[in-house]
């Protein structure tokens, strides 16, 4: 027998609880609106699991971390699927949207009130609320490597701020949404329902009247749930937001134009042991925003994966894994992709096509990454290119230029954006300047999907600023 359908009512329904959903929910709840947040993933205590561990991947990552955008080559990607979304699993590095990009997007997509001055006001507010700060004291060795290498080459490098607070005992605490804005939204009256997947939105003419959901109960069974709402914000991220809209029959410029930062990696071996607890906070910005060099998670499992990507003999390096750390170079890509909801499938098909220019930029990125690591004192470099030779000196890097081909490159990304772009240029966008979906009075998108392109920096800061701006506009309109 089918379980009865429970129906809940709310003023504003927010689908998703990451950087988009949490900012939206907190602002609306504080403004006195009745808010319900539905999150597909579980609520996991932010302190319960070791960051970047196997247990965390199983509990907090979508598909356990095994997602890929199909194309030549396929690009592996990671997204959060838990209360707090990707803010629970990312590095916590924080950037504002570069002013030149804000101006470019404002012009190209005809986005109203999108100047960097306006966005900076919201960024100020978010930074104050979350606590964005630099590391007190000297950086760890894994981060200092990047600064040292860049200095030797005469390149620019910067220690970036992070969404971290530091406790009196020195413990660094990442200010994820499950730790900050979501509890504050709940305190202001919002309700957060975890383990609840929205299968589709319910339409009536040009209005959305609610959402059909499946809620997973603690015993593993599921029950249908209908949430009726006056207003709906879809904040499920750049793959799940367009998929939900498409499943609901909303398709105009939805899911097209996916953007990302395709990334190559290198496992670098050093003479001395290197720290593996966190993510380096330095970035080499000499070629930014088209190309950025930084450090990755380097637990033993990540080191093993990065070493194996080169297909060289890595047994000795793995035996001394404490001396190895993983670094990356990410590019702003000319290519683009699509998100397509497949009938009968829960997961959307994600594709991405790199251009020849992208492949060339990735090869350049790999070589520059090698240069900076060798300058910093690395003794062996294992590139994420099948058959790529292990570089032990600058002369070896010459071989990397031709090694990175579509059949040999092992690429990944963690930044996906731009599947429901904003702007008044109706032909190129899926939503207006403030995220309202074309043709609907009460349906808005408020997450990474709205950014017209990948920003070349960690997108959490730009996403939160744009989302806060859109939420303010909604409240002003109301």
């Amino acid at each position: 027998m089918k379980p009865p359908v429970e129906t809940l009512d709310t003023d504003v329904l927010v689908v998703g609880s990451g950087a988009g959903g949490a900012v939206t929910a907190a602002a609306l709840a504080r403004a006195g609106r009745t808010v319900m947040v539905l999150e597909e993933g579980p609520w996991v205590d932010p302190d319960a699991l070791e960051p970047f561990s196997l247990e965390e991947m199983v509990a907090k990552y979508r598909h356990g971390g095994s997602c890929a955008a199909l194309g030549r080559p396929a690009i592996a990607y990671a997204e959060g699927r838990c209360v707090g979304g990707s803010t629970e699993i990312n590095s916590g590095l924080y950037h504002r949207l570069p002013p030149e990009l804000a101006e470019e997007w404002e012009r190209d997509y005809r986005i109203d009130e999108f100047g960097s001055e306006a966005l900076d006001r919201y960024a100020d507010r978010i930074e104050e609320e979350l606590g964005v700060s630099r590391l007190p004291g000297a950086p760890p060795a894994s981060s200092a490597v990047l600064e040292r290498g860049a200095t030797k080459l005469g390149w620019r490098s910067v220690e970036f701020s992070r969404v971290f607070r530091y406790e009196p005992n020195g413990r660094a605490v990442k200010q994820t949404m499950a730790r900050t804005l979501l509890p504050r939204a709940i305190e202001a009256g919002a309700r957060v329902v975890a383990d609840c997947r929205v299968s589709r939105l319910v339409r009536r003419g040009s209005r959305i009247v609610g959402a059909s959901c499946d809620q997973t109960l603690p015993d593993g069974s599921s029950r249908p749930l209908v949430v009726r709402a006056d207003h709906v914000f879809v904040c499920a991220g750049a793959t799940q937001t367009p998929a939900l809209l498409q499943r609901s029959g909303i398709r105009w410029n939805i899911g097209r134009g996916l953007k990302m930062h395709p990334t190559v990696k290198v496992a670098a071996r050093f003479e001395s042991p290197i720290d593996h607890g966190g993510i380096p906070m330095h970035r080499v910005t000499e070629f930014a925003p088209s190309l950025t060099i930084g450090g990755s998670a380097s637990r033993r499992g990540h080191v093993a994966l990065a070493l194996a990507d080169s297909d060289a003999d890595y047994a000795d390096a793995l035996a001394h894994w404490e001396h190895v750390a993983v670094y990356y170079a990410a590019i702003r890509s000319e290519g683009s992709g699509r998100v397509i909801a497949l009938p009968g499938f829960r997961s959307p098909l994600v594709t991405y096509q790199l251009t020849e220019g992208d492949m060339s930029r990735l090869a350049r990125a790999l070589v520059h990454l090698g240069e900076v690591l060798l300058a910093a004192g690395a003794t062996e470099l294992y590139p994420s290119v099948t058959g790529g030779i292990v570089a032990r000196g600058p002369d070896d890097l010459v071989h990397w230029w031709n090694a990175l081909t579509r059949n040999r490159a092992n690429l990944m990304t963690v930044h996906l954006t731009s599947t429901v772009r904003i702007g008044e240029n109706w032909a190129r966008t899926g939503a207006d300047s403030f995220g309202r979906i074309w043709g609907f009075d009460n349906l808005r998108v408020n997450d990474a999907s709205l950014l017209p392109a990948a920003p070349g920096v960690n997108p959490q800061g730009p996403i939160m600023a744009v989302v806060a701006r859109n939420t303010d506009q909604f409240l002003a309109d109301a």
């Binding site: 033993r300 098909l349 099948t386 579509r406 059949n407």
Partner: protein, 107 residues
Amino acid sequence: MLWFERRVVGTLMSPALDADERSAVESYVSSTLQSMPEHLRAGVAAESILLGGRSWVEHRAGRLDEGRLRARVERWKTSKLDPVRQYVRLLHSLVLFAENELAADGT
């Protein structure tokens, strides 16, 4: 996890692992494959059936040679056919990550 996937995972695991560790790694690989997007899982399963046909026949005839299977998997790691290379890379990545994370945890 399909029969052939289990065999490939077995060949990719470090021989130094004990039975409990092998079981933990296999369990992680199995659960990750199960949680993959359906279309990707279907593609991996289709490859397992295609690539594993010969081994299945050999197994049924009682002639499956672990050494020969290992050599085959090693060849596939550098195959010029991207889907074949990616198939082994996927399974190898999962095995490696689990082996090394479990070792790091000391479990």
